[in-house]
């Protein structure tokens, strides 16, 4: 029983990172139908920003987290402006290749500038382990879970309650109609990228704290897994992305805990394929009927 709860805690903390990343994928996909391959690299940028500000400017954790969110939001908006906006009306596969190009650019640009070696993330918060009924919980795990949940609630509020959030939902339903009722599409899309990228930046700082090591290629695998999470949850759906992230995190730790860690990625993809076959639009996705 205790091992079950132990794995549950580990899975939830890993899952909250995936969930934060998946939110960015799902929002961008919902609004411009683009798989933003560079999203995982924004998360890497966030982790590096945290590394530099904590090491050289001696930021505390909250400040590092918030500044990483702002910087990543700016990076997301800049990428959207230069790389994706010119391709708004191009075939979707072209935009996808551009996103892959941006991803290569960020990964290799960072390797070129700062070297490809792995670095230790500064331990800005001292790790303390609590023992709750035999289950070992570290303060960092609690911090990750609380921060992630807080950010997700904030995001949900922004999308549901603010004017900009309403504009985002309108553009994702029908961009042309949204433009007709006076919504500035470019600004709305930029805002979406800013929101999604800031979540990725926060996830980057949190993962640095959790795993203790960062490198320029760290965004690749979590990025793809987070996208899988977004698809499992139903891409385009914000609660779906959170749920998918937690699901993937839990699944990974579960497979790992039964001693099949070599197959943990395979299990994730297998579950993805099975879910897609049963629910072709993901758990919370809407199945759009095609009209003739």
């Amino acid at each position: 029983m205790t091992t079950l709860f132990q794995q549950l805690i580990n899975g939830l903390s890993l899952g909250s990172i995936y969930a934060l990343l998946a939110l960015g994928y799902t929002m961008v996909y919902g609004i411009i139908k683009l798989i933003n391959f560079a999203h995982g690299d924004i998360y890497m940028l966030g982790a590096f920003w945290g590394y530099y500000t904590i090491n050289f400017w001696h930021f505390n954790f909250i400040f590092a987290l918030l500044s990483a969110m702002v910087v990543c939001a700016a990076a997301g908006v800049i990428i959207e402006y230069f790389a994706y906006r010119p391709l708004r009306h191009a075939p979707r596969i072209t935009a996808l290749i551009t996103a892959i190009g941006v991803s290569y650019f960020l990964e290799n640009g960072m390797s070129y500038l700062y070297g490809a070696d792995t670095r230790d993330f500064p331990q800005v918060i001292k790790q303390v382990n609590y023992n709750l009924w035999g289950v070992r919980v570290s303060n960092i795990q609690i911090l990750i879970l609380v921060t992630a949940c807080l950010l997700m609630v904030m995001l949900q509020l922004i999308i549901k309650k603010t004017k900009m959030g309403r504009a985002m939902r309108a553009v994702s339903v029908d961009p042309d109609a949204a433009e007709l009722v006076g919504i500035n599409i470019n600004r709305t899309i930029s805002f979406t990228f800013a929101l999604g990228s800031s979540m990725a930046g926060a996830a980057g700082v949190l993962i640095g704290l959790y795993y203790n090591s960062i490198d320029p290629l760290m965004g690749m695998t979590p990025g793809i897994k987070a996208f899988v999470a977004a698809v499992v949850g139903g891409i385009g759906s914000v609660p779906g992305a959170s749920l998918g992230g937690f699901l993937i995190g839990l699944l990974e730790t579960a497979v790992q805990s039964v001693g099949l860690s070599a197959y943990k990625d395979a299990a994730v993809y297998l579950v993805l394929i099975i879910i897609l076959l049963v629910l072709p639009a993901g758990i919370f996705g809407k199945n759009v009927k095609e009209k003739v």
């Binding site: 191009a90 072209t94 290749i97 892959i100 290569y104 290799n108 698809v231 197959y263 076959l277």
Partner: protein, 319 residues
């Protein structure tokens, strides 16, 4: 048959001429081992890109799992010719790889091809990763460290011949009844179905044919490079093939040839830039996509037919 005889003979002459040109350049010493390596890599990429172009560009099914089938072919060849290093075993291993890849493509394709667009892409990507992870954990494939000292049977003439054979098979498929059915599926599934086309069958046919050619390319790579590891066949490899297809133009076979050649040459030319190489490569990729969104060739083809009919028109206009 008769109508296209002239053009087919032109292509045949081009193929044979290309072969002898390569041969002559190697004899004279213009093409050294570095350039030969580049040419063979381009050839392997052409096989892969043409196969993926059939799936994406002609059948309209967005597959991101090409590297998985390539891995199947590569490991079939590697395992077989490491045990029995003869030329006969090499050719048999290509066939074994193709057969296993076809079975794998059927297992992957039958359930997933009912998905659409990006969902299909992510599902095929997952399937390819599962293939890679299985290879990564098997004993016979030597696990994550991969296989090395594979005998080299795939010299450049073999690769060249394979490029020609796979391209001919795919182009013939595209121009057959089945290929036209696949094109109809790409344009509009519902309309195609209402015309009596079994959409699932032709989607699967294109997918399986693409997978079979990917296995051939994998066999070539295993035997030419002589070392393979599971990580050579990860998502990034699938994406690299996708880049060639999109850069050349989705739905243009000659476009894939052009793009594979350009990327191969650029890659070789940037070899001396070290760490900056991939940064430049990424920038070039982004810029090409922004300024030429439909790829180098769009969906057009270089064809002798058009060349001749243009000439005839000019002659006709004069008289």
């Amino acid at each position: 048959m008769k109508a296209n005889l002239k053009y087919n003979i032109c292509w045949l002459i081009l193929m044979v001429a290309g072969f002898y040109l390569m041969n002559a350049l190697i004899l004279v010493g213009v093409i050294d081992s570095f350039l030969e390596n580049m040419v063979v890599t381009i050839g392997i990429n052409i096989i892969l890109a043409v196969g993926l172009n059939l799936v994406i560009g002609f059948a309209g099914q967005f597959s991101l799992g090409h590297a998985g089938f390539m891995a199947v072919g590569a490991y079939a060849t590697a395992i077989i010719i490491s045990k029995t290093p003869t030329a006969g075993a090499f050719y048999a291993s290509i066939i074994v790889g193709v057969v296993v890849a076809i079975i794998a493509a059927l297992i992957v394709g039958i359930p997933t091809l009912r998905l659409r667009g990006d969902y299909l892409a992510i599902a095929t990507m997952g399937a390819a990763e599962i293939i890679r992870i299985i290879i990564n954990n098997l004993k016979i494939t030597n696990g994550p460290s991969g296989m090395f000292n594979i005998p080299q049977f795939a010299t450049w003439p073999v690769v060249y011949t394979m490029v020609c054979i796979t391209t001919i098979i795919i182009v013939n498929f595209i121009h057959s009844r089945g290929g036209r059915a696949a094109l109809a599926v790409r344009e509009d599934e519902i309309a195609a179905e209402s015309m009596g086309i079994n959409i699932f069958k032709w989607k699967l046919a294109a997918f399986v044919l693409g997978a079979a050619t990917a296995a051939v390319a994998g066999s070539m790579q295993a035997s030419y490079l002589q070392t393979i590891a599971p990580n050579n066949f990860n998502i990034m490899e699938s994406i690299a093939i996708l880049i060639i297809v999109v850069l050349g133009g989705v739905g243009s076979i000659t476009g894939s040839f052009v793009a594979a050649t350009i990327l191969g040459v650029v890659d070789a030319a940037l070899q001396s830039f070290g760490a900056l190489r991939m940064v430049i490569y990424a920038l070039v990729l982004i810029l090409i996509m922004i300024f030429k969104p439909s790829g180098i060739m769009g969906s057009r083809e270089l064809s002798f037919k058009r060349l001749f009919s243009r000439k005839n028109k000019k002659v006709g206009a004069k008289s």
